[in-house]
Subunit: 420 residues, 2 copies
Amino acid sequence: MTAALTPSTNTAVDLGPAVELVSKEEGHRQPLAPEFVSAEDFSPLEVGYDFGRVRREDIESGPRNIWRYKKLLPVPSNVEEIPNTEPGYTRLVRADNLAKALGVKRLWVKDDTGNPTHSFKDRVVAVALAAAREFGFDTLACPSTGNLANAVAAAAARAGWQSVVLVPSSLEQAKILTTAVYDGALLAVDGNYDDVNRLATELAAEHESWAFVNVNVRPYYSEGSKTLGFEVAEQLGWRLPEQIVVPIASGSQLTKVDKGFKELAQLGLVEDSPYTIFGAQASGCSPVSSAFRNGHDVVQPVKPDTIARSLAIGNPADGPYVLDTVNRTGGAIEDVTDDEVVEGIRLLARTEGIFTETAGGVTVATAKKLIEAGKIDPDAETVLLITGDGLKTLDAVEDKIGPKATVAPSAAAVNEILGG
Amino acid sequence: MTAALTPSTNTAVDLGPAVELVSKEEGHRQPLAPEFVSAEDFSPLEVGYDFGRVRREDIESGPRNIWRYKKLLPVPSNVEEIPNTEPGYTRLVRADNLAKALGVKRLWVKDDTGNPTHSFKDRVVAVALAAAREFGFDTLACPSTGNLANAVAAAAARAGWQSVVLVPSSLEQAKILTTAVYDGALLAVDGNYDDVNRLATELAAEHESWAFVNVNVRPYYSEGSKTLGFEVAEQLGWRLPEQIVVPIASGSQLTKVDKGFKELAQLGLVEDSPYTIFGAQASGCSPVSSAFRNGHDVVQPVKPDTIARSLAIGNPADGPYVLDTVNRTGGAIEDVTDDEVVEGIRLLARTEGIFTETAGGVTVATAKKLIEAGKIDPDAETVLLITGDGLKTLDAVEDKIGPKATVAPSAAAVNEILGG
C-alpha cells in the first residue's frame, strides 16, 4: 500500500484508482500491464493504488453490485455502464438458528449463492473482464473444472466477447452443460487438470487477445475477492466483523478479504478494530491446514482427493500468504473430512434454508470444529463465507439424503408416518 | 378493489393493509381467514385491502427484498423482522444483445433466478408463510414437483417451522435432493401429481396447523406474485412497461402482475399508462393458448406432455382470468414446441449470460414467435419474466449441448480447432 503513495501511472489505461503493479515479496514496482509475476523477484504481482479520498456516501449511492466499490478496484471509472453480469451485494444473513446449533452468540452467513452464476467467481471474473477490456483483450479464457468455467462463459456472453474455456475431458456432464449453454468455445482437453493448466499458460503466451482470467490478468482478477470483505463490513453497518471463516483453495480469497478489511480501515471507512481470520480446508486437500498445524511457513503440495472439488488445489499459490494472514490476526486453519463436509451442507440447509455446494460445507464444518476446539470465540461475532451453490454439487449429497418415506396416496398413510 | 373501501376487519390478525377476502366472481366479502373458495359463489377468494396512503419513499427506504412492498401485501407490519428467506428485488437486466437478436428496440429481462432457491416461488411462499403465521399455523406444506417444493422446504427451515412436502414418487432424483436437503418431512407419494394434489386437499382439511401454501392459504400466497410487477415498475424508474411477457402455469402469476400494475397506478405510484400483457405456454401444455387462439372464454383441460414441467398444469385455475387480462390489455397468448423451448434457453444464455430453466425458455421462445408474428411491437419496450434457474432443468439441454471439441493438451491442437 505504501508503494502507491508515489504512483508510476500507466497513462494508456483507465483502471480507476489502480496506478501500478507491485511485487508481493520485495515491493518492486512496475506500470499496470497484463502481467502476473515480477521479473525482479519472481513473486506474484499485486495491484497498487492511489485511492485519494473515498467516502461512505460514494459507495452507498452506487449500484447494488460490486461496482459500488469501483473506487477501490482496478476498473475504469465508467465500469457499471458497460454490460456485465453485475455480481455481488449478495445477502448477509443473520443466522440465529445455526448459531444456536453451533453454540455461538452471533453468527452471519455471507450467501454468495445469489450471484449470477451462483458462486463468488462472478466477482473476480467481472473485475478481470473490466481490466482486460482496458488492456485491449477481446477474448476471456480460463482453465477450470467448475464454477470459474460457468462465470467466464456467462460474463463473456453478456459482454459480447468470445470465450475459451478449457476443461478436463473427464469432467462430469452437469458441469460441461452449465458452461456449454453460454455457447463459447468450450474445449474438453484430453488430460488432467494439471495438463489443462499448463495448456492455459502456453495459450496465454501465444494469443495476444486472450485474457486468461487466472493467468495473465490474475492481479486484477484476484482483487475482485476484496468485495466480499467490503460487503461484509458495509452490511454490518460499516464495521469489521470480529471473526470470519474463509475457505481456502489457492488462498487468494482469504488474503484478499484481509486486504479489503485493511483498505477500509486505512481509508477511515470503518474503525480499525481487530479481527481474526480463520481458514477452512477439506482434509482430502489440506496443504495449508497441515502447514499451519505443523508450524511451517511454506506449504507442501498434495494430490487432492475430496468431494470439495472447487477447493481442490493441491499446490495453492497463496498458501504462505494465508499462513501469514491467519497468524497475524490470531486465527487458525482447520480441515474436515468429506463426511463432515456433507454434514456441514445439511446443517446449513436445515437451520437457515441455504443450500451450499461442498465448499460451503467445508466452511460450516470447519467453523463447527474450531468452535468445539475453543479456537473460535463463541461470545464474539462470526461471519461464514458461503461461496457457492448446492445445485452445483448434487452428487455430494445424493447417497445421503432422500424422502422421509414413500407412502400410499392417503391421509391415513401420511398420518401414520408423521404421527399426526 | 372498491369492496375494500369499507373494510370488515378481522381484528384477530395483523395482515397489514389486508382487511378482507373477496370472491372473484361476484365480489362477496368475508373476514380474513385461511380459506380459498367462496361459499357464496364458489369462485376463488382474493385479498381485499385498505391501502391508505403509500408513498414511493416508504417503499424506497425499505429492505432490498419483497418486504419493501409490505404496505401492498397481506403481511404483518413487522414482517421483515421475523427470520425469512428475504426473496425478491432481483435484477432487471437491460438486454441489448437479446433485443438485437430478436429485432426489437428495447428489451429487459427480469431475472428471478437470483432468488434464494432460484425461482419466483420464494416470493409467494414467503408471503404465504407470513400470513400463515398470523393465522396460527406452524407447519408449511405443499404438493409439488419442483420449484415450489424447494421454496417451501427452505422457507420453513429458515423460519424454524416444520414442513410437509408431498411429491410423486416418480420424481427425478435431483428434484428430490434439492428439497430433501432442508430436512423437512418430504414424502414420496405412490401416485401421479393429481393424486398428490388430492391428498394435499384431504390433509389440509384434517390438520388444523398445516398451511398448504397453494391450498388453504392460496389467496395470500398468490398475492406474492404482485411483487414481480411492483419491482419491474420501480426498477424502470417508477413507470409501467409498455409490453410484458409472462409464462402461464396456473395463470395466477400473469393475473397478479396485472393486479400489481393496477394497484401502483391507483395509488398514484406510477402514471396510469397503458400496457400490454402477453402469455407464454409450452405447446405440450397449452390449454390457455388454445382457448385464446379459438376465441373461447373458458379453458379446456389437457394432459401435459412437455419438458417445461414447472408450467405443466393441464387445468389452470386462473385460465379464464388470464384470457380476460390478456384481452383487456390488447395482448396475445402463444405456445412453443419443446425444441423451441431449448432454443429459447440457449438464446438467452448466449446473448445475456443468463441460464434459465425450461419455463424461461418458454418465455423467450414465445416472445420471439410473437415478435415474428407482429403481435409484439418491436418499437415498444418489452419486459420478459424469467422465473427460474437452468441448473434445475439440466435434463432439458443435456442432449443438445456440449463441448465444441475434444482436443489433445497442446496449443497446436487448440489453434487448429479455433483457427487461431
